[in-house]
């Protein structure tokens, strides 16, 4: 492990943790406003799992960084440019269909990614991935069922789901873009090249979206800039404003 580029590993872990943190935050915004009680429970449960995964990923990131930052310091004291999540995670909730479509696309990516990470040469990474995989398998099952139910439901629910897919599609490509950080992780045997995971992802989404009678957009255009922090959407700053407010206003307090 001595040869692993610690800075690259830190960036990789921030990517994992920021994805779950930002998406978990978004999902938690639904609390008490879901279309049906079972969905209130399921959304709170999903958010809870994602925040739990964040504690592991960012906790390890802080350790690797070695500057005394714990998961909370990383979550609550960094600004937009330091965040490394996919843009899709910070996209607004929109209607319930948009929230579930975002969740489904993320769940499909997470299930494929975590399956590979369980074989990571870094036992800490493999351990977190093994734990998170169990939760994500359930998330994917649930979001898939809901996508199928709403895609193949009424004309209105179908159209809303198709619109959600088209709105989010340009944010899918970023999940499979590779850069130097990834090359480093591949060389160290810590993670698989994201570009190589696209086939498995496409197999999952094609099966589910076909069953949902939805058309997969043909465009290959992809927005990017989240996972390297070069250009986030305007939405992230507002999300951080509420998320970090107490820690920012009362920096001396412990909670």
């Amino acid at each position: 492990m001595a040869n692993v580029d610690q800075q690259a590993l830190f960036q990789f872990l921030l990517r994992m943790g920021d994805n779950t943190l930002v998406l978990g935050h978004r999902v938690s915004e639904w609390c008490g406003h879901a279309p049906v009680l079972e969905e209130d429970i399921a959304l709170a449960n999903t958010a809870l799992d994602l925040i739990g995964q964040t504690q592991f990923w960012l906790g390890l990131a802080g350790e690797v960084e070695g500057k005394g930052q714990d998961a909370d310091a990383l979550a609550f004291r960094r600004d937009v440019w330091d965040f490394r999540n996919f843009l899709i995670c910070e996209m607004p909730n929109g209607d319930f269909g948009q929230t579930l479509m975002r969740q489904f696309l993320f769940d499909a990516w997470a299930s494929v990614t975590l399956a590979h990470l369980q074989k990571s040469s870094d036992e800490r990474v493999a351990g977190i991935a093994a734990k998170a995989s169990k939760e994500v398998a359930y998330h994917l099952e649930r979001s898939s069922d809901t996508i199928v139910g709403l895609g193949d439901g009424t004309a209105e629910s179908h159209d809303r789901m198709q619109a959600a897919l088209e709105y989010l599609w340009p944010y899918v490509g970023e999940m499979f873009a590779s850069d130097d950080v990834d090359a480093n992780m591949v060389a160290a045997g810590i993670a698989t090249d994201p570009a190589g995971l696209r086939g498995e992802f496409d197999a999952i989404i094609t099966r589910v979206l076909t069953q949902a009678t939805l058309n997969i957009p043909q465009s290959t255009f992809a927005h990017k800039g989240g996972r390297d922090g070069s250009i986030h959407t305007e939405h992230l700053g507002h999300l951080l404003t509420s998320m970090q407010w107490l820690q920012r206003v009362y920096p001396d307090a412990s909670w």
């Binding site: 609390c31 279309p35 709170a44 209607d95 439901g153 307090a253």
Partner: protein, 330 residues
């Protein structure tokens, strides 16, 4: 419990002579602590009163998500956020058990929901108060769940089987929430000057609304006798309120916070604390819809229901298609 001023159906407690044979047998079972189960005969008024009480309790769990949800996105640490999410999830789960238990009495969850949304049914007055600083989240767990437990523990022995079983399950989780709430506020009471100020502010604002959770004073509580005879209410409002005050005052002192009522003093003669009653005019105003958050809370629930109509309909139509396809394949 989150049920206040549940109006007992019927004309009041009947004497044995006034009862029919069936009613006498029913009352004998209750007096012998034999649970009433969904298929057993029960007086219409017992059924109607239970539907009101369990429905109000379920609605309170649902509306209760809103004041806590108000702080989920602003929780100050990942752990506090996770604890709050788990708590809100539990509460939605309590709503689900209670609606399911109420359904055994012949009313559907959708019917109950409609009655909440158009104002025919109530939820606990406490959720019409706002959560204004982070310490409110601790105080809600400590005081509001604490008051709820005070009421729910005796209700584990209530006469209606499904309600009693729901209460047993709910009480376990509520006790856990109360401890977490107390831990959260203790951390603040021991914290910085600003944190201590938040804790005191939360206690001062939520104290009387918490006392109101037990319902009006016994002398004004006109519906208790029948419900107590039916064992769907076990203690009087004032008994439970007193118990709550006696339990909570030492906790306030332990936290090092100021008492929220100058009149709180230990009374050697009665072996309990004297305290000031809440302002019952304010209570009745809140019940009538004039609390600080009534309009917003109901609007939020109505919006969630209306915005979600296409989702419920879509999923239902899909389920029908699936069932039809399965049938065709057989």
């Amino acid at each position: 419990m989150y049920a206040q001023m549940v109006k007992s159906a019927g004309t009041g407690v009947k004497s044995r002579e006034e009862m029919t044979d069936q009613e006498r047998d029913f009352q004998d079972k209750i007096d012998a602590d034999i649970k009433i189960e969904p298929r057993d005969w029960m007086p219409d008024d017992y059924r109607a009163t239970l539907i009101r009480q369990m429905g109000q309790h379920a609605h309170s769990e649902i509306v209760g998500q809103l004041p806590e949800g108000n702080w989920i996105t602003r929780a100050p640490t990942l752990e506090r956020k996770a604890i709050l999410l788990a708590k809100v999830q539990d509460e939605a789960g309590h709503g689900l058990y209670l609606y399911s238990a109420a359904e055994t009495l012949g009313v559907t969850r959708d019917e109950l929901t409609e009655m909440l949304l158009d104002g025919r049914m109530k939820y606990s007055s406490i959720f019409n108060y706002p959560t204004l600083n982070w310490a409110d989240i601790g105080a809600v767990g400590w005081l509001v769940d604490g008051a709820a437990i005070m009421n729910q523990v005796p209700l584990q022995r209530t006469s209606y089987g499904p309600y009693s079983r729901a209460m047993i399950r709910i009480c376990k989780e509520e006790s856990f929430h109360q401890r977490q709430g107390y831990d959260a506020i203790r951390k603040m009471a021991e914290g910085t000057v600003a944190q201590k100020k938040m804790a005191q502010d939360a206690l001062n604002r939520l104290w009387y609304p918490s006392l109101m959770m037990f319902g009006p004073s016994d002398k004004d509580s006109v519906h208790s006798a029948q419900s107590m005879a039916w064992k769907i209410k076990i203690n009087t409002n004032d008994e439970l309120r007193q118990k709550f005050v006696d339990q909570t005052v030492p906790q306030i002192k332990f936290l090092g916070l100021d008492l929220p009522d100058d009149a709180i003093v230990w009374n050697e003669e009665t072996s309990q604390h004297d305290y000031t009653d809440p302002d019952w005019n304010e209570f009745f105003d809140v019940i009538k819809g004039n609390g600080p958050c009534n309009v917003d809370r109901l609007a939020a629930r109505n919006k969630a229901w209306d915005d979600g109509a296409w989702v419920r309909e879509g999923l239902m139509v899909h389920a029908q298609k699936k069932a039809a396809a399965k049938l065709a394949a057989e």
